[in-house]
């Protein structure tokens, strides 16, 4: 029957697409420009899917948090953002901080998803750096002049994951380390209060 044939074909195509996506991280081992393009492409694709879902803003932010955890090396990013103060934190505090940090990031950037509607990210080049790879790209958002975004990817966590990002030269991790440091200062260096405040604002 034609209809079942069509269904079957759709199913096959979807299956192929899915297995291609599953194969993505491995393709990246030899991170070429093509690999870089598909990694950036799949993040952008995932983000656009969430935006297109038409869910409530808070549900979207929860989805953005999942995307962040899937593609980014949250552990190392959180540790870096905490900086020197991380050395006096207990393992439990570090875990709690990492959780609060990922919620805070998802909320801070996820809330601004509207700016991303209809946006594209074009990969320009990829090159090897000490910790992994640097992917240079040009982001085009509606109503804004195109700007340069550089992603840094590493497999030191066991998987190819983003660990930092530069927007027109502005280092995301360094910016967040300054911010986390300022919140910590405001709480007189109390890490538990910092965690509580991050949870409150996310």
């Amino acid at each position: 029957m034609p209809s079942s044939f069509l269904t079957r074909r759709t199913f096959l195509t979807t299956g192929l697409a899915l297995s291609a996506m599953a194969a993505l991280p491995r393709q990246l081992w030899a991170l070429t420009e093509t690999g870089a393009r598909s990694l950036v492409g799949s993040v952008v694709g995932d983000i656009n899917k969430v935006i297109a879902s038409g869910k409530s803003e808070s549900a979207m932010i929860r989805d953005f948090e999942k995307i962040f955890v899937r593609y980014a090396d949250v552990n190392i990013m959180a540790r870096y953002a905490l900086g020197v103060d991380g050395r006096r934190a207990s393992p439990g505090q570090l875990r709690a901080f990492t959780g609060a940090f990922q919620g805070y990031i998802a909320n801070k950037y996820g809330r601004r998803f509207r700016e991303f509607i209809g946006g594209t990210v074009e990969v320009q080049s990829a090159r090897k750096i000490k910790a992994g790879y640097e992917i240079k790209s040009i982001a085009k958002l509606q109503g804004q002049a195109p700007f340069e975004v550089t992603f840094l990817v590493s497999d030191k966590s066991g998987k190819e994951k983003f660990f930092n990002m530069f927007i027109e030269g502005v280092n995301l991790l360094l910016t967040e380390r300054t911010e986390i440091g300022a919140i910590l200062d405001r709480n007189k260096g109390d890490i538990d209060k910092l965690i509580a405040e991050l949870k409150r604002i996310s």
Partner: protein, 259 residues
């Protein structure tokens, strides 16, 4: 602005920048590591609070109103207009930097956009694939080997450095448009620049709001973002990722993946 006011304003700015530029210098080790050099932090912080007040009660509402009332295409047109007026000055700067090609590009942009872009309101130069130019006397000083100097926050202008602050003053007084004999409007460049800044404040409203009003220390955030972005514009060394601040995996405080 009347001529007198413009002179007074320029003199005040020039005086403060000269004082700033003349004083503190950063040692080469901390400069190389990309550290922030901010010996006037107390003064800067009070100026920052002043600027934040100006933004909150005047500039931000005006910018929001402007981009709400004026259609985006017109906002863009006014941006082009202001940019176009700065092109002769940019051509001079490119020349001073020894960059003949860029100087020529700036001039051709000016000619093409003034003639085919209705006095600069449009940007046909980009349609003809003439690349954009964005330079200033701050960059010229950089090319001449003048160091960044201390971080300063200028009243109304916001984040800057001693070098770029001096650049703003020089650009203001040397803009060839200001010396045109049949200038259609006095200080048109200054007005166009204010309108351009309004447009940018409105267009990038969320980004600027998040820095100024949502961060725990808006002064430190603005300082860090300005300095990084400025160093990037001036073609800063991208290999600094390899350093302590760019590579969290090699951060001395991190041992997550060590051994």
């Amino acid at each position: 602005m009347t001529f007198l006011m413009r002179r007074l304003f320029g003199l005040t700015l020039a005086a403060s920048v000269t004082v700033l530029a003349g004083c503190a210098t950063q040692d080469s080790v901390s400069r190389a590591s990309g550290e922030v050099f901010d010996p006037y932090e107390q003064t800067n912080r009070s100026i920052h609070n002043f600027n934040r007040g100006v933004d909150r009660y005047a500039f931000r509402p005006a910018a929001k109103g402007y981009v709400t009332v004026v259609p985006p295409d017109m906002v863009r047109s006014f941006n082009y207009f202001a940019e176009n007026l700065s092109m002769p000055g940019q051509a001079v700067n490119a020349l001073l930097q020894g960059n003949l090609k860029e100087s020529g590009i700036a001039l051709s942009r000016f000619v093409v956009n003034t003639i085919f872009g209705i006095g600069g309101l449009g940007d046909p130069a980009s349609d003809f694939n003439i690349p954009r130019v964005d330079t200033n006397f701050g960059e010229t000083l950089h090319v001449w080997g003048v160091g960044e100097g201390a971080y300063v926050e200028l009243p109304f202008f916001g984040p800057s450095t001693a070098r770029d602050g001096a650049g703003i003053v020089v650009d203001f007084f040397t803009n060839p448009i200001g010396y045109a004999t049949n200038n259609p409007a006095d200080n048109i460049t200054a007005y166009a620049e204010v309108v351009r800044r309004l447009g940018d404040r409105g267009t990038y409203s969320d980004t600027i709001d998040s820095i100024l009003y949502e961060s725990a220390d808006s002064y430190a955030q603005a300082r860090l973002i300005y300095l990084q972005n400025r160093r990037f514009e001036l073609g800063g060394d991208q290999s600094e990722y390899e350093g302590v601040y760019g590579d969290p995996y090699s951060d001395p405080y991190e041992d997550l993946y060590a051994e």
